[in-house]
Each structure stands twice: as structure tokens, then as C-alpha cells.
Symmetry: C2
Subunit: 85 residues, 2 copies
């Protein structure tokens, strides 16, 4: 039987992770990132890395994957921001 | 006894939520948001709202609070973006 609540959790994780893709694309394409807050992305990455370890402890593949991928995407935003400074 | 893993989870939630505060502040202060991806924030808000309901089902105050507050902060970024378009 399908657990609908866990499906909602998976869609939620997919949304909050995938949402960073258009931001990475926009920063890469327009080579302009001045409106993006560097502080936001630094604190956000710290958070996702902590979530990542939280997921490892709880053996939750969803938390590990979602936060691992989000951390990489957020790192790309920081990389593009520092590159186009 | 303190459950250190749950403390890490709480710090993680605080970071991923609080990280949006400097972005809201920056968008509000500089009145410029063109580099911020609207698509990112729309998909992100959908994700946090789904997480919110996921938290209600699991009776997890941490998930409810973290995603409720993050959704409001992300909504403020969208509001400022549309306002300064």
C-alpha cells in the first residue's frame, strides 16, 4: 500500500531541493549575482550539511539525498557569486 | 539526558530557516531583486508548504515551525521581488 504522507514528504523534498536549479541557472546565464545574499547561502549550506549528518544518524536516505544535493546546488550559487563579483 | 543528534537537527533547522532573513533584508534594503530567481522561490514555497503538512501529520513541531517560518520568509522575498520589478 502506498503511504501517501511519505509521498507528500518526497514531493516536498524534491521541491525544496530542485528549487535551487533555476537559481543556479539564472546566476550562470546572466553572470549577475549582486542581489543574492552571500550570508543566506553560507548559513543555508551549514544547515544542509547538519541535516545531512542528521539523516545519516537516522538512516534516512530522503534526508541524506535531499540535503546533499541541495548543499551542492547552494555551493554552486556561492561559487557563481564569488566568480562574478 | 540531552539527545545530541536532535540538537544537531534543531541547529540544522534554525540555520536553513534563519538563512532567509539576510536575503529578505538585502532585498528590502537595496530594493533590487533582479538576480533572484522567481521560479526558485515559487517551487521552494510549494515544498515548504508540503513539508508543513508532512510535519502536522507526523506531529513534529520542529518540521511545522521551521517550514512555516521559512515559507513566510520566502513569501516575503517573492513579495519584494514583485514589488521592485
Amino acid at each position: 500500500m502506498i503511504n501517501y504522507v511519505e509521498v507528500i514528504g518526497l514531493i516536498a523534498a524534491t521541491c525544496t531541493t530542485a528549487s535551487f536549479v533555476p537559481q543556479v541557472y539564472k546566476a550562470w546565464k546572466h553572470k549577475s549575482t549582486k542581489d543574492i545574499s552571500l550570508s543566506m547561502y553560507i548559513v543555508f549550506i551549514i544547515g544542509t550539511i547538519l541535516w545531512f549528518f542528521y539523516g545519516i544518524y537516522h538512516e534516512s536516505l530522503a534526508i541524506i539525498l535531499a540535503n546533499g544535493i541541495t548543499a551542492i546546488l547552494a555551493f554552486l550559487v556561492i561559487f557563481l557569486k564569488l566568480r562574478h563579483k
